[in-house]
Amino acid sequence: MLGKERILELGAQILGISTADETEALVISDETALTRFANSAIHQNVFEVGVEVRVRAVLGGRIGVATTNSIDERSVRDVVDRAVTCARLAPATPDFHGLPEPQPIPQVETFSQTTASYTPERRAADVKGICEAALAEDLNASGAWSNSEIEVGVTNSRGISAYNLRSHASLKTVVMAANSSGYAERTAVDASQIDVAGAGQEAIDKALRSRNPVPVEPGDYTVVLEPYAVGTMLDYFASVGLGALALQEGRSFMNGHLGDRLLGTNITMWDDGLDPRGMPVPFDFEGVPKQRVMFFDRGAAIGVVYDSFTAGREGKRSTGHGLPAPNTWGPVPLNIFLAEGDASKEDLLRDIERGLWVSRFHYVNVVHPTQAILTGMTRDGTFLIEHGQLTRPVRNLRFTQSVLDALSHVEAIGRDAIMLQDEWGGTRVPALRIGRFTFSSATDF
């Protein structure tokens, strides 16, 4: 790893070289190790060391960006030259109000030396444990166990000088029988907080319980969605309509509805990059500190996330949700929370005459953005609910469902939220019982 001093020194060097009116240097350095297993053995095992220097140069509202992954002096001069050259060629960007100003960076715990020091041998031993437990049940284990160390430094000509060192441990496992499977996932800043054996056992239990699934007819069902399924659904929901760019371009389900009750009154959802219950990160890729942003407060549509560009258009301040420049995606929520309820598993099942229990979703995609209609498949354990009990495992189904509609028919919310990993953040959600959920077709397994 480069270290704080070197990274901020690189940033200062870039600012010193640049002839642009405004300059931003984003330096990301990382070491990531991942041990992957399939058929109950390690089959891929990787380690990568990377660095990227990204320079955004602004000349009279004209913007150019260049990157390199070499940090010798010649390469640093070259990346600045390329960014400035690009800026000279581009027409001015309307609505661009300059790079963000510095603000105090909050202190959050984002690093664990335990994670950074995790060895290949230790990961192999952990994986071997899961594999042996699966083999003992005549099952087949697969998965990925990774640990990474990431440094992010942002420096700009307006005075931002931000540095963060973070660590990330992530375990995902799928355990399979001949006609069933189970899944488990664990994520933490500190790898020692992850119960590897427990995760393996969760996947094993689900694989055993979902053997010999029977077909069920597609249609509308009351469903209980485990947090894995809820998290996936909300990640896509957020990407479609909870960023300011979609709102400003008229593409969001929030358009024309801010202040309206769009969801059930039991739904409160927000983004908070500083909450230690998630995967905390103090600032975004523009060096702007993370703000807590309320999306839905008891069902009422409150707001969306901003970066400096979208905020500048409205005379607002960035909420700290900028991505690396040039960002054509707009600001994105990366630390989503859905408020827990107080329902136990029994509460979630109670009085459901006929419904479905869904462990997780697979290959979700957006069918209609302004109605927030998603489609995807169930996977890794789907069960019939009859008279308030889980009765039989069922074959997988395809859902095609508006998330707005689903979250307007939430009958109960689980009391135990779990944190799920995303690329650069996390989503913390409980289980949900939804009164009406549409499965549009089925598959053969």
């Binding site: 380690f47 060391v49 004209r62 960006v65 060629l89 990774s146 069918v367 997988n396």
Partner: protein
């Protein structure tokens, strides 16, 4: 480069590797995008680094670094061996790579005009002209354009004695027109969805697209879609345009025949496949359906000289007259069947482990002209340009949405329909194919995801239009 490569291999062997290969890569990428008359992004990326893959104690290790120096090469090669030894702690059998592969040579993407020599001013100007042409249509909300030009220099060497150098050049561009109103967001893309059409080719590839000339048409269609009727639910005949056929092939065939997926090696992420080895010889589709993997197709995103294991580019029939006949393989997976690899292993960059990836998975042309397929169809839908996609983890149940559809009534295209979707089960769907077009073209998919850590790969699909019977449409 040769010195670095040899050092990596020597260090790996000295530390006990029984096999090692190394890839050193440099890449240069230019990206331009425009939106509503402004430049949205102007980006010049450079990246270089190397990755060392080794077998030690019968298991795999891989390590990569951006620092291309002799001390770092040594350190990373040692790490790769240490990781392999750690892998061996949880192995069940030794990796078998099959027969040795020794290749030497060079390959360069054939181009007429090197895209990186075309000025950025000209590139910006082209996109802004197309942008203006789209925004000349009243009612359009967003006009977007994008282009990408990339050069990748790859050096591959192995302890078997291979030494290969390749220069892969890609060029791509596209435009998207978006209309917003009455709770609808409708878009039209040209020439392809996902923002651009791309190939291993030079700037001539973009010139041939006629972006400016097609811009008003797609803008008009996007606006018209706002008030078009919703695609109704039905079981009907669908005629699918070549760009959507490319994605249909990608999702329901290309991924399903990746042998690592079949053998369970991708179970933890993208899943497995219904095309298990006992299904070789099964009927996958009608006799009209012929699909090949061809890493030599001109301008294909999956075209190269050698894959990232040093295996030469190959042509492999996958489905012949509707019968499933073969897989995409690597040295390790092919060896399990006593066969050599058919050269489909690639990594996203120097940083990642190479995996089995689609090359160019092509639906071979039939004999029909598209206009004749339509004329021959009493009732149905013509579906054009992908908008959404989803398939289950064994590649059976799929659902696609396209940007636009037209009714076919008595052999003629009729009214426009919005939000069309269709769904099916892979072999049932392909079994209903009764006409394949002959206006065949290579298409590119630039966002194929696989692996942990995730890798994005550029893959190609040659396709023409095709017709399918008794398909369920109008899911929403």
């Amino acid at each position: 480069m040769r010195d670095f490569a040899e050092r990596a291999l020597n260090v790996a062997q000295l530390h006990g590797a029984t096999y090692a290969d190394v890839r050193l890569e440099e890449s240069y990428v230019q990206s331009v995008s425009t939106k509503n008359g402004a430049v949205d992004a102007l980006l010049l990326e450079e990246s270089r680094g190397f990755g060392v893959r080794v077998l030690a104690d019968g298991a795999w290790g891989f390590a990569a670094s951006a620092v291309v120096t002799m001390p770092e090469i040594q350190r990373v090669a040692e790490i790769a061996v240490a990781i392999a030894r750690a892998s061996a702690l949880a192995k069940r059998e030794d990796v078998d790579l099959g027969p040795s592969v020794v290749e030497r040579g060079e390959y360069r993407t054939p181009v007429i005009l090197d895209p990186l020599t075309i000025s950025l001013e000209d590139k910006i100007s082209l996109l802004l002209q197309a942008d203006a042409a789209m925004r000349s249509i009243p009612g359009l909300a967003l006009a977007e354009g994008a282009l990408e030009c990339r050069r990748t220099l790859k050096t591959f060497a192995s302890t078997s004695g291979s030494y290969l150098q390749q220069e892969i050049i890609e060029t791509g561009a596209g435009i998207v027109a978006t209309a917003v109103g009455d709770g609808e967001v409708q878009q039209r893309s040209y020439p392809n969805s996902f923002g651009r059409h791309q190939g291993t080719a030079g700037w001539e590839f973009v010139r041939a697209m006629s972006l400016v000339e097609n811009a008003p048409r797609i803008a008009e269609e996007a606006v018209a879609l706002l008030s078009a009727p919703q695609c109704p639910p039905a079981i009907t005949t669908v005629v699918i345009d070549p760009t959507q056929m490319a994605l249909q092939v990608h999702e329901s065939c290309g991924h399903a025949v990746e042998l690592d997926r079949v053998l369970g090696m991708e179970a933890a992420y993208a899943g497995t496949s219904f095309l298990t080895p006992d299904r070789l010889g099964m009927r996958y589709g009608s006799e009209q359906v012929n699909i090949v993997a061809d890493a030599t197709s001109p301008s294909g995103l999956g075209t190269f000289g050698w894959d990232d294991e040093g295996v030469p580019a190959a042509v492999t029939p996958l489905v012949r007259d509707g019968i499933f006949v073969d897989y995409l393989s690597s040295r390790e997976t092919a060896a399990r069947f006593g066969k050599p690899s058919n050269g489909t292993v690639r990594a996203e960059s120097w940083q990642r482990l190479p995996l089995i990836r689609m090359t160019n998975i092509n639906l071979l042309p039939g004999e029909w002209r598209l206009e004749d397929i339509v004329a021959d169809t009493d009732r149905g839908l013509y579906l054009e340009t992908n908008r959404s996609w989803s398939i289950d983890d064994k590649r059976l149940n799929f659902q696609f949405g396209t940007e636009i559809a037209w009714e076919i009534v008595n052999g003629k295209l009729g009214r426009m329909l919005k939000n069309p979707t269709y769904t099916g089960i892979t072999p049932d769907f392909w079994g209903s194919c009764d006409a394949v077009g002959r206006e065949w073209q290579m298409w590119g998919t630039t966002n194929c995801g696989k692996g942990q850590p995730t890798q994005t790969m550029h893959v190609g699909h040659g396709a023409a239009a095709a017709r399918f019977r008794n398909v369920r449409v109008g899911i929403t």
